[in-house]
Amino acid sequence: MELTRRRFFQLTGSACVGFAFGGLGFDLSPIEAHAQQFKLEKARESKTICPYCSVGCGAIVHTRIERDQRILNIEGDPDHVINRGSLCSKGSGLYQFAENENRLTRPMYRAPYSKEWKTVSWEWALDQIADRIKKTRDAGFIHKNDAGDVVNRVTNMASMGSAALDNEECWLYQTLLRAMGLVYIEHQARL
């Protein structure tokens, strides 16, 4: 039986060494031990919380110290009092959510009426976006309502997002949007 990389992680990712033998029909303990040592010597450990549902399970991330410095494995954190090391059918695959070939790695731009994306630099993209924001805001800014009350709002721009942001990012995000004058501020909580 060929020990695929995936199967290897499934087995070694578990803290239960005893089950390894039953799973494959031969003794994996030496490989388990090797993997543990590998994680200790070649990887850095960091703690995280699952980004999927709202239970808030703890997980341990092992990141390779050398070469690509990418993730080696993600497994349940046995010291986390909610999940005590276990992860669900989604959480068990966290590794592949982060190390995923479909991830975006460069800013992209689609011009009006264009049929394709163009890869662009961050500097260019943010300059363009800031320019669009300013032009749109300045053209549509509402200083007073019909009754003459000062309202200082912008209704020709809207933003949706996001429960995928960290708390600190959420706070910063609403700060910037409100300073811009936006009132159309919406996110997943209502959907």
Binding site: K47, G56, R70, V81, I133, T155, N167, R178
Partner: protein
């Protein structure tokens, strides 16, 4: 969340995950934790091992239902009828917790004479404007403005009597006729759950989008709030109402106000009529003249001013109203929710749009319309880890890129594991996450992108522009060595003393972090980006990083020093209701808090609360000798009157929940009144095309998630996709036989709005229901997919079928009940 806030004062899960193990009876309704919150189910099973009963009510036999002691199906969209029957059962059999209902709820309040209810409509209905005059539902007050009350519940207009009258119509026969649940089934659920009305027993409920995603969503939850208040289950370990949030930080992102109607910490967004800070504060601060009511929101101005100080730093001064005028105001009474937003976009009113970590072109109701809306923009910025239906809308099905002018900027966000920061789970636990690898490729954290964008805007507006003041004055110093620093923001959210401040003889030095929101000031001497999170990051350190393994002394699973919970590290909110009038636990085994008092001559002369962080200060309501304690405080401190609201006059669509049929339903009549739909229901007549009692669309459809997938993201994760690769439609063998459909065949599901190709799964999980003399079939579709992924574009979004009809209070769409037909491809 609106229902929870109206009933108890705060819009959040009242208990937390580990606490579920303490329950004697768990009702799962409108949720499926075994599949959608799998790890939480560990605590459900622990409770069961300890002898608890598990009840599941769901249109579909889920994996939660599979292990329940009691499972009953119901027709999707009939939860209020089901729960209204339970309220009637509680009252008819006097099963309510008498001391609790009389002292901790507003059941004793007297409602004014103008209140009434007739044939599905509450008093004050304006049929033109489709809204109620809520002043008709006010409480009768004495000369001091304190609600008049009758603790004996005899007064004809006391809430208890009105409740009794309202639900007298919800008899078993009628409820069964509406819900399709058998009378025996209803009775079994009612008997089992209401047994928790015994003071020493606790019952809890787990709900999620199965309750919220209806045109009566808020009132579905209100019905359960009423039940929990009657049974005295709020505040107890193993009790409460547990809203299971769908995303890892949907609690935190709501707390931090990523919604049009609030500022961080559930402060209100200013409206046009709030011309200055004084008027805004006055309109936002509730008043109570009852000395026993804590009325915590009386502190409102302190939180509002501290927030403005965090927004604008030293530029916010008393002279300029702390920058109040720089903040945008919303029109009075106007909503700016997703469906208003897309209406404005449809009509060309919105030129620029940000989709930040979101995919509305797959997740909103009636997504074909949403996709069309995006073509009417000048520009869009999508910040995401993946390309999706929103950023790629211009080359989606039926789109002609050469005719679409919208410019699209797609910015790569890094993954959660490549940055540092906190998230808040459903149980209000704020937990810190650490950086593993560096961001992949050129991707950046959302915080980094926001800082860069803010810098660019600041420098552009430094050269001039329309009303540059708020951008110019915005405090924007959250970087360290040029990098976004989440610790700096976390500290700002907690708040600082901006000057030396002396409170109760203690000096708090300028520049130190504020240890508790009780110390925030309304004069600009403190800042706090979100008062609710004040206490999370203090001079003691970042409390969300704590990982102390020690449990509470009686092992109720609250782990008081693991992570940090809002507010003030309180693990169970409304815990003050977990004790009797003398401050002693209703249940001494699973006690949460108790009053450790010094007693002299039968009176408390001092003492302290022990256990969880007590909700509000003060003493128990009664002395040990049974006399009233003037130093006592009511338990629901976030409500102006201090009591749990069985009668909820603050919700636009009624003070009591009333059953109405969904926008689309298989039956022509509402068996309870001549109001077929929620009288305040809002939907777009032009695009929603409601089909009711329509032979073209005779089947009830609902949507849900699979245990293998999360939202629209995991379809990009090969392991998850391998487990569930396709859009499926689940249907009963009876319906499949009628339609000559077999498992594995591709079929079309059609609604009046769209058409979706699915793979049929014929299963006994769905059963036809008898609604009066009619057989009603139900089908269900998971909504995880969309044309962009998986590659090939064959697996579409279930939301092409859904209407944009929304609940009138929360404005959440009705994803859970709509009419379709099914036929072979």
């Amino acid at each position: 969340m609106a229902a929870l806030a109206e009933s108890f004062g705060r819009g959040a899960m009242t208990n937390h995950w580990n606490d579920i193990k303490n329950s004697d009876c768990i009702l799962v309704m409108g949720a499926n934790p075994a599949e959608n919150h799998p790890i939480s189910f560990k605590y459900v099973m622990q409770a069961k091992d300890n002898g608890a009963k598990l009840i599941c009510v769901d249109p579909r036999m889920t994996r939660t239902a599979a292990v329940a002691d009691l499972y009953e199906p119901l027709r999707s969209g009939t939860d209020i009828a089901f729960l209204g029957g339970m309220i009637k059962y509680i009252i008819d059999n006097a099963l309510y917790q008498k001391t609790y209902a009389a002292n901790y709820t507003n059941a004793q309040f007297i409602v004014n004479e103008k209140y009434g209810f007739d044939d599905g409509l509450f008093a004050g209905f304006d049929s033109q404007e489709k809204r109620y005059d809520q002043s008709r539902w006010a409480f009768e007050t004495d000369t001091k403005g304190v609600p008049r009350r009758d603790p004996t519940f005899q007064h004809q207009r006391c809430v208890f009597q009105l409740l009794k009258k309202h639900y007298s119509r919800y008899d078993l026969k009628t409820v069964s006729k509406i819900t399709g649940t058998s009378e025996e089934g209803l009775l079994a659920v009612y008997e089992t759950f209401t047994a928790t009305g015994a003071p020493s027993l606790s019952g809890t409920v787990m709900y999620a989008m199965g309750w919220t995603q209806h045109s009566t969503g808020v009132q579905n939850i209100r019905a359960m709030c009423i039940i929990q208040l009657l049974l005295g289950n709020m505040g107890l370990a193993g009790g409460g109402i547990n809203a299971l949030r769908g995303e890892s930080n949907v609690q935190g992102s709501t707390d931090h106000a990523l919604l049009f109607g609030s500022w961080p910490g559930y402060l209100k967004v200013p409206r046009d009529s709030h011309k200055n800070l004084e008027i805004y504060n006055k309109k936002s601060t509730p008043i109570s003249n009852d000395p026993l009511s804590v009325n915590w929101w009386q502190n409102y101005p302190k939180y509002a001013v501290s927030f403005l100080k965090s927004m604008f730093g030293k530029n916010a001064t008393a002279d300029n109203d702390f920058g109040y005028e720089w903040m945008p105001k919303c029109k009075d009474g106007r909503s700016y929710s997703w469906w208003k937003l897309f209406q404005a976009m449809w009509h060309g009113g919105i030129k620029g749009f940000f989709a930040w970590g979101m995919n509305p072109a797959a997740t909103c109701g009636n997504v074909n319309i949403i996709r069309e809306c995006l073509t009417r923009l000048d520009w869009m910025v999508s910040v995401n880890i993946f390309d999706n239906e929103t950023s790629a809308f211009w080359h989606g099905p039926d789109m002609k890129p050469e005719e679409i002018k919208t410019e699209v900027f797609l910015l790569p966000a890094c993954a959660w594991v490549e940055k540092e920061g906190s998230i808040t789970n459903s149980g209000r636990w704020m937990q810190w996450r650490y950086t593993g690898p560096k961001p992949l490729g050129e991707s950046k954290s959302d915080g980094h992108i926001l800082m860069d964008l803010g810098d660019k805007l600041k420098s552009l507006y430094a050269k001039g522009g329309t009303f540059p003041d708020p951008i110019h004055n915005l405090k924007w110093d959250y970087t360290t060595n040029g990098e976004f620093d989440p610790h700096k923001v976390a500290k700002e959210i907690n708040g600082y003393f901006l000057e030396d401040v002396t409170i109760d003889g203690k000096v708090y030095k300028k520049g130190t972090l504020v240890p508790s929101f009780a110390l925030l000031q309304d004069d600009g001497r403190t800042s706090s980006g979100n008062w609710l999170y004040c206490n999370s990051y203090t001079e003691e350190g970042n409390k969300s990083e704590r990982r102390e393994q020690k449990d509470a002394p009686n092992n109720i699973g609250s782990y008081p020093e693991f992570a940090w919970a809002w507010p003030l590290d309180r693990r169970i909110i409304y815990n003050r209701a977990s004790v009797d009038l003398n401050g002693q636990p209703w249940d001494s085994r699973r006690w949460v808090v108790r009053f450790d008092g010094q007693v002299k001559d039968g009176k408390y002369i001092g003492g302290k609360w022990v256990g969880d962080v007590i909700d509000g200060g003060g003493m128990p309501l009664q002395h040990p000798d049974g006399s009233e304690n003037e130093g006592g405080r009511y338990p629901f401190i976030m409500r102006a009157h201090g009591l749990g609201q069985i009668f909820g006059p603050g919700l636009a669509d009624g003070p009591f929940p009333e059953h109405y049929e969904p926008l689309e339903s298989p039956i022509a009549n509402n068996f309870l009144s001549s109001q077929r739909r929620n009288p305040l229901l809002r939907y777009s007549k032009k695009v929603d095309l409601p089909a009711t009692d329509d032979p073209l669309y005779p089947i009830v459809c609902t949507t849900y998630r699979l245990t293998e997938h999360w939202q629209t993201v995991t379809r990009l994760v090969p392991w998850n996709l391998e487990l569930q690769p396709q859009v499926i439609v689940e249907m009963s063998p009876e319906l499949a036989k009628m339609k000559r459909i077999k498992t594995g065949e591709r079929v079309f599901v059609v609604s009046s709005r769209g058409k979706l190709e699915c793979t049929a799964v014929v299963t006994h999980r769905f059963k036809p229901m008898k609604i009066v003399d009619q057989t009603v079939h139900q089908v269900g579709i998971p909504w995880h997919f969309g044309w962009r992924w998986p590659a090939g574009g064959k697996e579409g979004s279930a939301n092409v079928l859904v209407a944009t009809a929304v609940d009138p209070v929360s404005e959440i769409p009705e994803y859970k009940a709509f009419m379709v037909n099914v036929h072979k491809k």
